[in-house]
């Protein structure tokens, strides 16, 4: 029975790792998108 | 070719005239071996098994001492640009420095081997085979080490970056196979027994001299 602990541990680590990484990429993407939008507004504001 | 000789001689003159550089190399090698001797003096161990790892780890450090200033010195003295101005191909600089490094490391290794046999009394049936393995192993260390030293000289904290970059590429490839070859020799083998390692190390040398020749341009350009 004790072996299964390793199985659970391995699977949680893999899927937690993959999921967290996808989440991190997703959050970073949104943050950067907003930053670009905001900077573009400043740029347009400066030009007019 | 004349330019390679010129750079080779210049490197040797700069290296051997720098008194404190040579002294520090010798003292550091002495300290490494003494610390190994001290570390292993408490446990009884079959010397022939531990001898080759100790030897090659000391060689690795010796190599690192001599490799770290090679390109860094040129930047600090501002002479690197002068070399790029000269009408020579960049690979000439690589070969000149590689050969100079090789000679310096070999001298250091002879000194270390001398100390080694004092600290760890051991008889080697085929001493010539040991010298060949050490020589071709050092060619690999100098060839690849030179490229990595050129890379790390362009980086911040280059003293730290040299070992960080050098260990993954050198330790698991040439150092391991040299260790297995030397331990075979220490256990009484002769050159024929280690032919497989010798061929492997020679292949490593050839490949990384070629890689150095091809890539040094991109490392030293603006």
């Amino acid at each position: 029975m004790s072996d299964l602990i390793y199985l659970y541990a391995a699977y949680t680590i893999i899927w937690a790792g993959v999921f967290l990484y996808i989440l991190k990429l997703h959050l970073a993407q949104n943050k950067l998108k907003n930053e670009i939008k905001m900077l573009r507004e400043i740029l347009d504001g400066k030009k007019t | 070719m004349k330019a390679v000789k010129a750079i080779f001689l210049k490197e040797l003159m700069v290296e051997f005239r720098n008194k404190q550089m040579i002294n520090s190399y010798l003292i550091l090698s002495l300290m490494i071996l003494a610390s190994f001797r001290f570390a292993f003096s408490f446990i009884d161990f079959s010397i022939s098994q531990l001898a080759s790892p100790i030897l090659w780890i000391s060689f690795f450090f010796a190599g690192m001492f001599s490799l770290s200033p090679t390109y860094k010195r040129e930047i600090e003295q501002g002479t690197r640009e002068a070399l790029l101005f000269a009408p020579i191909s960049v690979s000439t600089i690589y070969f000149g420095k590689f050969l100079a490094n090789l000679l310096v490391i070999l001298c250091l290794e002879l000194f270390i081997m001398l100390l080694f046999f004092v600290f760890f009394p051991l008889n080697i049936p085929d001493f010539l085979a040991l010298l060949t393995v050490v020589a071709i192993g050092t060619i690999g260390i100098a060839a690849l080490g030179n490229i990595i030293s050129a890379i790390s000289s362009n980086l911040a904290q280059s003293e730290v970056m040299l070992p960080v970059l050098l260990i993954p590429v050198l330790l698991f490839t040439i150092i391991i196979s040299s260790i297995s070859a030397t331990s075979e020799l220490f256990a009484g083998g002769n050159l024929l027994d280690v032919m497989q390692e010798v061929r492997f190390i020679l292949a490593f040398d050839v490949v990384f001299i070629a890689v150095g020749y091809l890539l040094i341009d991109y490392i030293l350009e603006d």
Binding site: S2, D3, L4, Y6, L7, A9, A10, Y11, I13, I14, G17, V18, Y21, I22, L25, H26, A28, Q29, L32, K33, E35, I36, L39, R40, I42, L43, K46 | L144, I147, I148, I151, N154, L155, A156, Q157, M161, V164, L165, I167, P168, V169, F172, T173, I174, I176, S177, S180, E184, Q196, E197, F200, F204, V207, F208, V211, L215, Y218, I219, E221, D222
Partner: protein, 227 residues
């Protein structure tokens, strides 16, 4: 930009579906291993993660070559993004490898197992690559030097492989063939897991490259705004 986003979501969806199927295959569809029992099910995703890290490093190698030839920073961004993904899957591969080694061989790490050895060598090379980029002084020198180191690291892999083979001769350990009898269903589950992870890798690469591109756009705008 819009087409890219749709394509990315399609790939993500595809990757998620494939991964779910591969989990089903690994846990339920395949029988448990006669000798090792259910813990052997780690094997599928251990191999898949290790495979992705080798694939990622291969992409870095080719991207580095193409950068040196074309001097186009796009290749450098791909090389860097691939390394970041590669190091994550390499770490996962090593952790699952040792978690699987403990019950089966009783020890967390076995130097003799050249698969684990090569994955660790690759892990060190990834770390060195990232350390190199962290200490580079200018954008061009960062791209040049990391491309060169990526190539050197890639050439080292077969040599580490060979060195380990030679090392084995002096310490011939009867390497309990961990794979052992791989039944058809297990082989299928393995291939499926590898395929699912490859699609996942492609998605992650696209997402990471987009993020790096956005960072560059921001720098350009900041320069204009500030200028």
């Amino acid at each position: 930009m819009m087409l890219k986003n749709n394509l990315k979501f399609v790939i993500l969806g595809f990757a998620v579906i494939l991964t779910l199927i591969s989990i089903y295959l690994a846990l339920i569809y395949t029988p448990s291993h006669e000798t090792m029992g259910d813990v052997q099910r780690i094997f599928y995703f251990h191999v898949a993660s290790a495979w992705v890290s080798y694939l990622a490093f291969g992409v870095t190698f080719f991207a580095g070559l193409l950068y040196l030839k074309s001097k186009d920073f796009k290749w450098d961004t791909i090389a860097f993004s691939s390394v970041e993904i590669g190091i994550i899957f390499c770490t996962l591969g090593i952790i699952t490898g040792s978690l699987w080694a403990k019950p089966v061989w009783g020890v967390f790490w076995r130097w003799e197992d050249f698969k684990l050895f090569i994955t660790l060598v690759l892990w060190f090379i990834f770390i060195a690559y990232l350390a190199l980029r962290a200490n580079a002084k200018s954008r061009t020198s960062k791209a040049n030097l990391s491309a060169v180191f990526g190539i050197i690291g890639f050439v080292c892999i077969p040599f580490s492989f060979g060195a380990n083979r030679i090392w084995q001769q002096y310490h011939p350990t009867i390497l309990a063939s961990s794979e052992g009898s791989l039944q058809a269903s297990m082989a299928f589950a393995l291939v499926f897991a590898v395929f699912a992870f490859t699609i996942l890798y492609i998605y992650l690469l696209l997402a990471k490259v987009d993020i790096e591109k956005m960072k560059e756009i921001i720098d350009k705008i900041k320069q204009q705004v500030g200028g």
